[in-house]
Amino acid sequence: MTERTMAQALNAALSDALADPSVVLLGEDVGMTGGVFRVTDGLRETFGGDRVIDTPVAESGIIGAAFGMAVAGMRPIAELQFMGFSYPGYDQIVNHVSRIRNRSRHRFTAPLVIRIPYGGGIGAAEHHSESFETIYTHVPGLKVVVPSRPIDAKGLLASAIADPDPVIFLEPIRAYRAIKEDVPDAPYLTPIGVASIERTGSDVTLIAYGAMMKETRQAAELLGANGVDAEVIDLRTLVPLDVETIVASVQNTGRAVVIHEAPRTTGFGAEIAALIGEKALYSLKAPVERVTGWDVVVPLRRAEKHYTPGVDRIVNATMRTMES
């Protein structure tokens, strides 16, 4: 066990993975500088510039080349610098990465991980605060994973790399260094597709993932202090979703609040709310509340706070569900 930030935990998973010679890491500035967020720090020194590859500024090229490598039997890990810079690679992801297995009926596959730092809360420049996970969850053939804490980050990334199919691995920027926790030193796999009940509770289910887990945990504490016993679910994987855990919890509590910083319309919260409506309608004591980012461009530093859901917003929404 070593105390690690999420960035360090991810670094450890990458380092473990690179022991396999078919794994390579590629992206802008991942080598010499160790990446914008230093997640790949030291890896080039250890594994060499042929394995930890600094590429030109070309997201479509990075993903397309990684795809070709994966098809040829390697296990590439592509890093994009920010989600706001992932869109030039979107065509490659949708039209090729997600489809080659189906297109070739299992003959060719793309066991590739695309790591994308996402989310706001650090007062960054435009395009540096995006949460557009929906544009990936909507694409058949992709798995979408979002760790919220160091220990999961390491195990989930290891699973993503080992996965026979392409995984979009979303890394919440403001969680990179937010907390440290004990992370095992030996490699381990945290399964994809399994949510984690972080706190059990009987009054209401709070469902979140990634960076918003922080505010969600805080809200749960605050609610607890006010006599509301919240169950907290960290989804960890968006696709394939652990529907069972969500539904079982809501059937028990009768109330749900789903939290994300992505824009509201067709955000992932819509999917969760729809599913709950489908599978647990008769348990619901109150409408499912969605606490989300707004349908606006994430404001810049001076006004960003109006965008990202804060503890208050979660608490207020939860209290509203308690009134019914």
């Binding site: 590859i53 070709g68 080659i100």
Partner: protein, 346 residues
């Protein structure tokens, strides 16, 4: 042909350069071109009968289709397009797979083991970088394989072409970029696709070797492709080949070229037919008979018929099967959806 365009066999069937291959090999490649043309015309005809979905004929481009693939090893990568059925077939992709694809059946995409021909790219431009990735993997793993990517003039307008060429240059991958400049991107003539004189002018901007060839000259195609393939295999990096050719047929069976071009130019190109000139040459060398060609054509025609029959005989996918190749194992949500389809019907 513009200047600096490699030509070995002139349209009239006379040699104007040194053949890169011997007569036996020329006969083999000629045979392949004939099969390709028969396949192509047969598909067009079957599409008209409603037995195939939209088909993109490559008539006029047979020298490229066969010549580009000629120097490859059996396990080299081929990453090509909807118009490259001839090339894919010659590289080992079974005809029945091509036909299955054209009937609208995913099983066409299942390349046999050991053959590294990817299913055809339907989107324009996105696939070239894949041949950089496969080549890069081969370079890193020292397999000695080469990746050939085939694409049209139109594809060079896409940003992905640029990124593919740039990556190939920077990472010095064993990739052969084979561009069939057939004069058209659907209705857009070459002159309106770029202000450059020639696509080969782009190569220098990527620090890449570039060569322009008569794409209707089988021997020029083989010569250029062989050099490029050998260079790639020997670790000398990528090459860009611009093959000047022409699509004498419609863009696809759904297209009406009368809307955007006159037959005059097309007729000029028909006169430069890639098969005719090899025939004239072979005949002059005493290497061609009508009976031989008729036999090849007959067999090819039968092969296409058989492939269509085989494809049609195959039971279409059940509803269950549409869920079965999204992941190595269907996920729980997919199984749930499969259940819904079973329950409510389509």
């Amino acid at each position: 042909m513009p200047q600096d365009t490699l030509q070995i066999l002139a349209p009239n069937g006379e040699l104007v350069g040194d053949p890169p291959i011997d007569l036996d090999r020329i006969r083999e490649l000629y045979e392949a071109m004939v099969v390709a043309r028969v396949y192509d015309r047969k598909c067009t005809a079957m599409q008209k009968q409603g037995r195939l979905a939209t088909y993109a004929p490559f008539e006029g481009q047979e020298a490229c289709q066969i010549g580009a693939v000629a120097p490859l090893n059996a396990d080299d990568w081929v990453v090509a397009t909807y118009r490259d059925a001839g090339a894919m077939w010659f590289a080992g992709y079974p005809m029945v797979n091509l036909i299955l694809g054209r009937t609208g059946d995913e099983r066409g995409g299942k390349t046999p083991e050991g053959i590294n021909v990817l299913p055809p790219s339907i989107t324009v431009g996105g696939h070239m970088i894949h041949a950089v990735g496969t080549a890069w993997a081969d370079k890193l793993q020292d397999t000695g394989r080469v990746s050939l990517t085939m694409f049209g003039d139109g594809a060079t307008s896409e940003g992905d072409f640029h990124e593919a060429m740039n990556f190939a240059g920077v990472f010095d991958t064993p990739t052969v970029f084979f561009c069939q400049n057939n004069g058209w991107a659907i209705s857009l003539p070459f002159e309106q696709q770029t202000a450059a004189e020639s696509l080969v002018d782009k190569a220098v901007g990527y620090g890449m070797r570039g060569v322009r060839i008569d794409g209707n000259d089988l021997l020029a195609v083989v010569a250029a492709a062989t050099t490029a393939t050998e260079d790639a295999r020997a670790g000398r990096g990528p090459t860009f080949i611009e093959a000047m050719t022409y699509r004498v047929g419609p863009h696809t069976t759904a297209d009406d070229p009368g809307r955007y071009r006159t037959e005059t130019l097309t007729d000029q190109w028909r006169a430069k037919d890639p098969i005719d000139r090899v025939r004239v040459y072979l005949e002059a060398q005493g290497q061609w008979t009508e009976a031989w060609e008729a036999g090849i054509a007959q067999a090819a025609s039968q092969q296409v018929e058989d492939a269509v029959a085989e494809a049609e005989a195959l039971e279409p996918f059940t509803g269950d099967e549409i869920f079965s190749a999204m992941f190595a194992e269907p996920t729980l949500p997919l199984l749930d959806q499969r259940e819904m389809l079973r329950r409510d019907g389509p």
